[in-house]
Symmetry: C2
Subunit: 232 residues, 2 copies
């Protein structure tokens, strides 16, 4: 059995010193990695652990860490793994940036102001600090989760949806939509407002729209592992 | 003797999960903090260590760590310290974001497209992932370094200038301009292209435009401390 776990957040480079990062700590992904490695290690051949730059990875002989920077990097690594090997399970806990950088420009240029006095130099490796109105124009990222079942239809897929300050109904509803859209087998839905240092409420939604409710990272990790292993 | 050292990078929040961060590791600031605490601890009463969220701080009885998030936060803390206490030295190694977020909007709105079909919801705590062209409009930050001598003219100020891939002449020139503009006593100028894991070339520019050349973080930290202490 081969598993891919993605954890932490992606980072999109603006220039040599600036990045747009997702503040994900990767703690939930770490807990999931640990449960699989420590409780189910005998049944598992390999765990590919794709993690953001700031996310720790589980140190275990069966865990193969792969560091991920931006969305394009994640897509490339996942495509390679899913194309070259039979992957049984993907637990996609990574907070993938919804947006990638399209262009760094100025307000005048984007408004098409001719004869602009702006002589902003946007070439080079570090954006000048002299620009009055800097504009970072971002495009929607490719939905990385959507390629997983296309490349490997028999893989069991756990999707993740993090919202902030929505009603319980909306959270479950959005989770179900993610499931339908990407052919997930489970979706872990959670809300930033229900996440604290030692508390993390998670709803593991099943295909029939019922869900398990968990109260911390360890419970969430355990439940995901149990549901995957009992379905095999 | 009381010192303020700033280290690491500032972070500007886009929403609850996204931030624009400076990739500064804070290693140079850390080395400077260590030299002052360990070599000159007897002559020092307090070191206020203002550090970015990802930057480690020196653990020492004379070091008072203060965690800094955004530019506004840094400005507030520096103003408070410089107003309430007599600060002898400020070593301002922190990579302060040149830009703060003015508005998160869409391309259509910024172009003033009326009757836009874009129904992007930009309210709330987490930006929706459904916006086609997201625009982060940034304004220049207040130049935090400029307040230091205004609030406390007798403080010895070490400014820092990091460029990327410029000629040696330009680097020194830009460093001198920073010095003149903000009444620095020294400026440490460095170029990303001359910084590696175990290598960090730094030029410590003096008021008379001569400079010391150092080859790693420890040498830079030592030289800054020596120049400050010999001037006292």
């Amino acid at each position: 059995m081969k598993i891919i776990i993605t954890a932490g957040g992606t980072s999109e480079k603006i220039d040599d010193v600036r990045t747009i990062t997702n503040s994900s700590t990767g703690r939930l992904g770490y807990a999931i990695g640990r449960v699989f490695a420590e409780k189910y290690g005998d049944e598992i051949e390999k765990i590919y652990y794709l993690h953001g730059m700031r996310a720790a990875y589980v140190k275990h002989p069966k865990v193969y860490p792969i560091m991920i920077e931006g969305v394009a990097d994640l897509q490339e690594q996942l495509t390679k793994l899913l194309t070259n090997e039979k992957i049984d399970v993907v637990v996609h806990a990574m907070a993938v940036s919804d947006y990638i950088i399209n262009e760094v420009t100025t307000l005048d240029r984007i408004r098409g102001v001719e004869n602009s006095e702006c002589k902003a130099d946007l070439s080079g490796n570090k954006i000048s600090s002299d620009i009055e109105d800097l504009v970072i124009h971002m495009k929607r990222s490719p939905k990385v989760i959507s390629i997983i079942k296309k490349l490997s239809p028999s893989t069991v897929l756990v999707g993740f949806k993090l919202l902030s300050g929505v009603s319980h109904e909306e959270l479950i509803d959005v989770g179900c939509r993610l499931m339908d859209k990407n052919d997930c087998d489970f979706v872990l839905a959670n809300d930033l407002r229900e996440i604290g240092r030692d508390f993390h409420r998670g709803y593991l939604i099943h295909k029939d729209r019922t869900y398990d409710i968990m109260e911390n990272n360890e419970q969430i990790a355990d439940m995901i592992a149990v549901r995957i292993m009992e379905g095999r």
